[in-house]
Amino acid sequence: MKKFDKERLLLGIAAPLLAIVVAFLVTALVLAATGKAPFNAFGIMFDYGLKADSQVYILNKGTTYYLAGLAVAVGFRMNLFNIGVDGQYRLAAFFAAALGGALTLPGALQIPLIILTAMIVGAMWAGIAGVLKVTRGVSEVVSTIMLNAIATAIIGYLLQQGRLGHLDEAGTKISTTPLPESSRFFEFPTTPTPVWGFIVVAVVAGVAYWFALARTRFGFDLRTVGQSGSAAEASGVDVKKMVVTSMLISGAMAGLIGMPTLLNDSFEYSGDFPVGIGFTGIAIALLGRNHPVGIALGALLWAFLERGTGKLEFEGYDKEIVGVIQGVIVLCVVIAYEVVRRYGLKRQQSKVGAELAAQAARNSDQQEVSA
């Protein structure tokens, strides 16, 4: 039994590794096609990506990406495709920023309040899609895409002068009232730049995700529904309730995505608050196979690629190359998982077949003896 476990682990690692190697090969071809030396480019990326300030950047950026990956993965485990993570986190961060800017409580009170607001707003927004799915059978893919657009419009409407936005003196930038000093999250005093304290929350979220899925009845139900809704229903799981609950959890997790930026970096929500991280989360969840450690590695890889290609642009490479690498990695990952899964299945089948044959042979031997 133990040997089988090891083999599974090996297969599990083989897929992403294979994907990354193939992705780099394809990228090398693309780079060569643009007339640049590909291995030189990778050299620059690794050289630069491993410097101290790059590491800080990667950890900080990875924190955001990790939370995004988790938010998407909760849905994936349930076979729910929550494309709305993007709108959920933006709306959540916006309301959290507006509330945080309006209050001046002690930090110990205000920070949890801001985070809680974000999680509740995110959960509510995702919950709409969940309720629509169970009561009206609306596909969550369609409803969450629509909700993304609506979230953009709501923020656009409220982030205006005279509503929740205020204009800077140059008259060009509109943002929510900045958070008071007390609401800033702590930082690790690393040199040359600090690591955001929110990484701790991300780790806690990862552990909670793992525990809830692997060690609770709820997690078991969730995975069961994900594998087969009808089988879960037959064994007494309330599938509708599970759909709504997991959308709520996914949304609450999405609410956390904007928090590292809000509480550790920008301290306000303005027109240039990062957008599109929800979609990055989909890629990262795929990359990490919905596993808490896998998602962490995926998030760090993603951040590393962005850091490294920033330098590539500086060195005169086309800035679009990062998009190519990322896209190719995701494609390769999806393909590699399928290839490895089939290979594993085949191995398992042939093994089971061999064992059965051996057993049958033993049986017939015994029969002969007894005969």
Partner: protein, 346 residues
Amino acid sequence: MRRVSKFAVACTVTAALAFTATACGDSSTEDTGSDKDQMKIGMAYDVGGRGDNSFNDSAARGLDKAKAEFDAETKELTAKSGETPADRETRLQSLAEGGFNPVVAVGFAYKDAIDKIAPKYPDVSFGLVDSVAEAKNVANIVFTEEQGSYLAGVAAALKSKDGQIGFIGGVDLPLIKKFAAGFQQGVLETNPKAKVQIQYLSTGSDLSGFGSPDKGKAAAKGMLDKGADVVFAAAGGSGAGSIEAVAGKPGAWSIGVDSDQAKDPALSKYAATILTSVVKNVDAGVYDLSKSVHDGKPLTGTQAYSLAKDGVSLTTTGDHLKDIQAKLDEAKKKIVDGTIKVKTTL
């Protein structure tokens, strides 16, 4: 239990590795030296970058001029959509560390990044287009878009037959509202009976309104159907759609923005119906800063590129403004001497 400990160990090891590595690694920015002999100009563009046929391209023209004149080495980096303030800081920092001086940040999104990075490099001159930062080594290159738009409003009111005028804004950002405010004021102060319809193509962080000619065309068509005969589109790439729609209605005029759109290769076929364009001379701002650094007297503080300094102006390609030029000059004079104060918000 076994799996718990394995997981915990994996986490701890990863975190520990990351942090030790952080503590003892080199910084990426320590080993770069600067070459003092040659001038090096660094540009950090907004999303879209060189080739957007609009705002960034105007900055790029200024860079190209400075590059040719001072035989400068240049480096151009471009913002990506979805990036965080930290990304913009990184971009400026890598330019400053790379020995580039001046470092020009194009777009108000760089304001916070300039606030953080400029004080760290007191010997480098920074330029910030469209916003105002406080550090001493920053030249804030700002434009009075509302003044240029006011003149466009005057022209629109004089050219319109029944005073029905349209304004199409790309996205409802404060910057675009400056255009709208000035334009509306210019129209109404010229013809109090006129009516300005204002429409934005998208809202908030949805910047599609700057790049959707189809939306621009639909909005302009709607305005023309309601009787408008002059349409000003301050909408980046979407403006092309508006210009196309206006060209389809006999006697209607369109007003372009950012660059002289009657000379735009893709739009020159509609030049007969393009009344004028409100031009924002970002290139002058970039060039002036580069020149000042080259001359050893770097510009600092707020550099307002106003109507008085020709920082904003109306183009005259096609001579469509000839018959009303006297009135425009009069309005310009009044703005310059302060008789007319143009609003920046609606």
